[in-house]
Symmetry: C2
Subunit: 293 residues, 2 copies
């Protein structure tokens, strides 16, 4: 019986990260506070100071990540006086100087953001998911995110046989369009680097920045059960919750008490009463939870 740990820490990740062991984390998935937003958190970093603010953090992240691990950064530059700001692309360049490899840029195409109107631009319906690695030999479990052909697909195939030649771009699973006719004889299909997921609208109690599907997809892709997942800007704890559900150990930091409380509520219900264990933490966090499995 393995122990799965879900460690939620109330604190500033700039401090808390120092307590983590070197080469201990398999996946870092996070959505840091965007420039000038979440003004209470980390003081609302102005765009021009964003890179300088983030670099010490990314340096620590580089330290705690295993050589085989991956860092996925969900971020999007804001518009400043009519222009897209350059802090994100500058950050990429600076992180490479720190030693990070910029392996890939995934696009999260937000499905259900609905129309808005500005004089100079359209609705922003995508965000970057930057994949960084410590070495070229990182772990990737591609089969885990393949879109399975379930009963649903087989039913469709039977019905299609009559009217099949209508090439119907349907959305399945993680949101990757597949032509049904091509699925014949295959069980699974590989995705691409564009993720077409809806934004989360369900739960109003947490300020979900991203839908649960997003961390889930990357956790499946880059970790196996028992691995360690870190979210230094946990927010309401989506990453930790999903990690727990999927049998991964996790650590999450959140500086703001009100978010931290929500995160605790999200994670706690699934816990057994058992003593906290924080194997990777050299110091002690203010909250720790352990789930037996």
């Amino acid at each position: 019986m393995k122990q799965i740990e879900t460690n939620l820490i109330l604190g500033d990740c700039r401090e808390e990260l120092k307590k983590l062991k070197t080469n201990s984390i398999d996946l870092i998935f996070t959505s840091p506070p965007y420039a000038d937003s979440r003004t209470n958190t980390y003081g609302g970093i102005p765009p021009e100071k964003y890179v300088a603010w983030f670099l010490p953090i990314s340096k620590e992240l580089l330290r705690v990540l295993k050589p085989s691990g991956t860092f996925v950064l969900n971020i999007k530059e804001k518009v400043v006086s009519g222009e897209r700001h350059t802090y994100v692309i500058e950050l990429i360049l600076e992180m490479r100087k720190q030693g990070w490899l910029w392996t890939e840029e995934f696009i999260w195409h937000k499905k259900n953001s609905y129309p808005g109107k500005w004089p100079n631009r359209f609705r922003d319906s995508w965000e970057r998911l930057l994949q960084f690695n410590k070495s070229r030999q990182f772990h990737m479990y591609q089969e885990e995110v393949m879109v399975p052909m379930g009963e649903w697909a087989e039913k469709r195939l039977k019905n299609l046989s009559a009217t099949d030649k209508v090439r119907d771009p349907s959305r399945v699973g993680s949101g990757f369009g597949k032509k049904i006719a091509n699925w014949i004889g295959r069980e699974k299909a590989y995705p691409s680097n564009v993720l077409h997921l809806a934004t989360e609208t369900r739960n109003k109690n947490h300020s979900a920045v991203f839908p649960q599907d997003l961390p889930e997809w990357f956790i499946k892709l880059f970790t196996k059960k028992g691995d360690w997942v870190l979210d230094p800007f946990m927010g309401s704890g989506t990453t930790a919750l999903i990690s727990q559900k999927m049998g991964r150990n996790s650590i999450g930091f959140e500086i703001l008490p009100q978010y931290f409380t929500v995160a605790q509520k999200n994670v706690k219900p699934e816990l057994e009463a058992s003593p906290a264990q924080m194997a990777l933490l050299e110091g002690k966090g203010k909250y720790a939870a352990t789930k037996s499995k």
Copy 2:
């Protein structure tokens, strides 16, 4: 009766651009040769030299563009030894130093991207469409690219039903459905900054890099009839052809004779026999065509 000009020039854009008048172009839409590709054309620029190669060109483009005009650059970085290369984001930073405003980044989500399976990455199915401007007061005709409401709602509902079948049935009726209801009754919706189009594979004689829909969309969005469109890397002349069809004047440069010939064939059939006029060209191109309208 307005005269619409379609000027196809065989030559190196680095030379030909110098012959264009300052502040004369309303829209520049182009897809330059990507690093190391189209090796016959412009010699296949190595990634590390790409920025230095492009900057003199973008400087000239800045000169010929009207203050109210827009420059749309279709580009994607290639993978070099396991990493996304940084020449595209470096180019953005350098172009801003030249005086360009980086207004927006559209995503072209390619429906049919090149297949392939690799151990460390998935299929690359998107490209950047970088929007640069000379001033914040650029012309934008948003109504021209509005999507008919019926289609939009239908798509959304279709996605929902698919999601419903595969995943979580509970969230359909309550949350998201209502939001759609808010938009029913309107006739048109604004698009977003993600374009979901298939690549063009039709014509064997031309290496159609982008589908006709792509330049068409930006020509509608950023120009009106009688405006001037420029494509310094014309290729087989898609941009020029679409400009002509839509009643815009255009100028296209192509360095490689075989592409140029295809471009001529594409454009010529729609011309009346009439004397060439090249109002904006101070020098003389090797081919010019005029279409009465």
